[in-house]
């Protein structure tokens, strides 16, 4: 495709494009610059583009992880550092679990078809639309009184796995259907058991699907607030929960809070740049066929 030619467009068209790009990433850019400003610069009336960028806000947020003592801090507040660790652990573990059991289930549903595909797809669709707000009351009640896992990371991980599974199964199905059955039959001829066929033949072939699914799963676990807020205690709070908690105070320290927001936004931004193709595939799957 190196020889591809592009149509010429008129200047107004490019002006529109630039406006759109500015509108799309302007707020994100604004958050980035604010996080690099001192409060004096944020409060000043002139909306100056010129300011001395400083990492001080990030030092304040991450002081727990630093090997040196930032001189502007009198006392290090470990809340955010702890939340970041929690978010990472919860995000990674719940993504791993969801993907492992999700791929297995999707594979079984596609290959062994012992239930109608329709039944499965309407169930996954229905489960997919359940908003976290609806799960708030029952999950709080059950986790606290019956399972006794409220306030622990395990409890939060379990909700996220359950929330993400329907989508993961649904999207992986569409990838597994495309794996030629002959490949699997050949492997079985050579004496591979069902688990070997699955792990050694099917899994490598659906890597793009797994990439898309893992990004979506991690994103939900990383970004979710409501359930984490209801289920976590002081030691298992995730980053979104700490951000909202620090917002309720009357006097907001915009620099620091924008730095924490930026830190929360960085992983999804990296994923977007690395794997935008897979993300778009995942988004369009189901709505647009072919």
């Amino acid at each position: 495709m190196s020889q591809q030619t592009y149509d010429r467009q008129n200047p107004a068209f490019y002006a529109l494009l630039i406006t759109l790009v500015v509108m799309a990433i302007g707020p994100i850019y604004l958050m980035l610059t604010t996080s690099l400003k001192l409060n004096i610069d944020i409060m000043s009336d002139s909306s100056s583009l010129l300011f001395m960028p400083t990492l001080r806000n990030y030092e304040t947020a991450l002081c727990d992880f630093l090997w040196y003592e930032p001189e502007h801090l009198r006392r290090c507040d470990p809340t955010f550092g702890r939340a970041l660790t929690n978010s990472l652990i919860i995000g990674l573990i719940s993504t791993a679990i969801t993907l492992i059991i999700g791929t297995m289930a999707a594979y079984a549903l596609v290959r062994f078809r012992f239930m109608g595909r329709d039944v499965v797809s309407i169930w996954t669709l229905m489960m997919r639309m359940v908003p976290p707000a609806v799960l708030l009351v029952p999950v709080f009640g059950i986790w606290t009184f019956q399972f006794g896992i409220d306030g622990s990371r395990g409890g939060i991980i379990l909700v996220y796995v359950a929330l993400n599974l329907p989508f993961v199964i649904w999207i992986l199905q569409s990838f597994i259907v495309q794996v030629p059955i002959q490949l699997e039959e050949a492997a079985r001829m050579d004496g591979a058991g069902p688990f070997q066929v699955f792990f050694l033949v099917v899994l490598p072939l659906i890597k793009p699907g797994i990439a898309a699914a893992s990004i979506f799963t991690f994103r939900v676990a990383w970004n979710e607030f409501l359930l984490a807020n209801a289920l976590s205690d002081r030691n298992s709070r995730t980053v979104p929960v700490t951000i909202v908690n620090s917002l309720t105070e009357f006097d907001i320290d915009w620099g620091v809070i924008m730095a924490t927001g930026m830190l929360l936004a960085i992983p999804p931004i990296i994923f977007t740049f690395v794997a935008s193709r897979q993300i778009i595939t995942g988004m369009t799957a189901g709505a647009v066929k072919g």
Partner: protein, 304 residues
Amino acid sequence: MSIASTNRMTPYLFLAPAGLVLAFALFYPICYMIYASFLDWNPSQRIGEAEFVGLRNYFKLFGDDAFRESMGVTLKFAAVVVTIEMFLGVGLALLLDRNIRGMSVLRTLFILPMMIAPIVVGLMWRYMYHPTVGIFNKTLKSWGFDGIPWLSDGSWAFASVVIADVWQWTPFIFILSLAALQSLPASAIEASKIDGASGWQQIIYIKLPLMLPVLIVTLLLRLIDSFKVLEVILVMTNGGPGLSTEILSLRINRTASEFRELGEAAAMSNLLLIVLLILTFTMFIYNKAQDARAARLRAVEEEV
């Protein structure tokens, strides 16, 4: 165990973990919630100690002005947001469906707002709407206008929330309709060009009708998601001022955590779930009908 019986067991082994998790952590909670909506239950009680009150929670809700208002806000929000986003998204897709350099970069930049945590989106907009340090009021003031009470006046707050949501989700519709546009049969567009259709005629008579199935699914997906919006509004206004931006999921959260009425919150969740169920079923049935129609057309073609 013989090989044959292993093979027979395999599907169940593969399905078991997912099935268990879904049963315990999703299906069971939903049933639990339906049951809880008939109870007078506060968070310090075990569910067994809660009193069974039948449909009282529901009657209370329908008699409650605050709930009716928040239901109204939810519906208004969904309708306004989805309409604006559909027009903008589809319009932009039609406009940008050209062979230009850097389209993939553009698409990447456009999905950023959707990938970032809703909490952060709310944070960014709350900062931009800030009466003194926010960029909107700063700019207005430097031009000599008065600042606008973005988040502190009822109707402005609603508009502000809508703007933030439009910013975040228009790209979703844009990307889906662009994908739909690019998978249209080139022959139909080619034929219309030969017949001398103008750009507008092509859009109205060829492109839009052919895109319609995808557009309807997109609309329903977005509509379902617009009932789930919570964090952005929570951070920006927390439902205020008054109840002007208190959408249903926010009200559920408040009823559960502030008013400590778990039964009532469960009843509200149930109502929300019913709305979403109807939408989802519509989508599923529509998809089925489309598939059936495609199959029939194919059968007709084969006969000829």
